[in-house]
């Protein structure tokens, strides 16, 4: 039936409209400062309408964090053209860090905020497929590095986690305003140099 189809499409469109407004406001004024009312106002609908399409705020946050992973995942996938695994590992790290610095709010949502994980726990019985896929890209690359003689005497899983953690840690400190406050240095150059330092240590055979 044509009408039902069109209806379903319209519903999807409005849902996307809400999400788009949320994304815009999050980037503009931060996630904490963005209210359901401000989202409703942005798209010129009432608060109630937002709740017709999203059962609560964590669902909006979860949908948005999926968009972030779609973008980062795409950039990761593009890097699998690089055949040298250590080069690819470095590139993955660089892209990851670039993403974090250029999309601080989104990165925060993906890797720091509790909301998306709360939503997953409450609705999808514990499967964070976005995080899994991203970690998999890293793990695969680390495995290939090990096959080439890198990371001797290490185990794949903890090593991959350690590498993720080390880059995430710098990004997280950056986003949460601890870098300049603790080191006294300009954050951006320090981040880049520190990243190189890490990679230099990681790539020692």
């Amino acid at each position: 039936m044509g009408t039902a189809e069109r209806k379903a499409k319209e519903k999807e469109e409005l849902k996307a409209l809400i999400l788009g407004a949320a994304k815009k406001l999050f980037a503009e004024k931060g996630i904490e400062e963005t209210t359901i009312r401000s989202i409703a106002k942005e798209i010129e609908y009432s608060v109630g309408t937002v709740y017709v399409y999203y059962k609560d705020k964590t669902e909006i946050l979860h949908d948005l964090h999926q968009q972030g992973f779609a973008q980062l995942g795409g950039e990761f996938r593009a890097l699998f053209h690089v055949s040298d695994p250590m080069e690819r590992l470095k590139a993955l790290g660089r892209i990851y860090m670039k993403f974090a610095l250029e999309n601080t709010q989104m990165y925060d949502l993906m890797f720091n905020m509790k909301a998306p994980m709360d939503f997953i726990k409450a609705n999808e019985e514990h499967h964070w497929k976005e995080g899994n896929a991203t970690f998999d890209a890293l793990r695969k690359t680390v495995q290939e590095c090990m096959d080439q003689g890198y990371f001797n005497g290490h185990q794949l899983e903890p090593l991959s986690f350690a590498i993720w953690g080390s880059v995430h840690g710098m990004c997280s400190l950056y986003i949460r305003d601890r870098v300049k406050a603790a080191t006294g240095q300009e954050p951006d150059p320090l981040m880049n140099k520190a990243f190189e330092d890490l990679m230099l240590m990681f790539s020692k055979k």
Copy 2:
């Protein structure tokens, strides 16, 4: 004048009482879930009283985060008995991580939450002395390691930051529930193994 003295002391005591209640509730039910009203109830005073002794919630959070740094700082200082700098570096990391895993709420407050930094920006013109002192302990130790031939070809500042970031990153992912969700592994053993992996790489001459 004796009375004025006693008064000042009583004021300090009540302030400490508020802070103690806050600390207790934070550890019990989490920081986000602890309200000014619940703090007031805990010490059997009214909401208004809390605001006589603390100008707002960020000040409570800031005072509490100072307590955390006092504890961690004390544990750090005790480690300066270890004369071998690389051994001390590893011990610093282990203590840091132990602190994070055993005081998740406090660690979150110290290194993730925005409130304490917001308070500092608004009230103490940008000087995070707690963070500075802690980073200094790390930096000093890293310098001594470099003096002994470790970390060849690295610069002190970015390297120290990278080391901090790498341990912080794992702790942060742990606290924000990303470890098991992304890796599928049991978090605690993975953390410990990953920490060893990092230290192994750091200590390669």
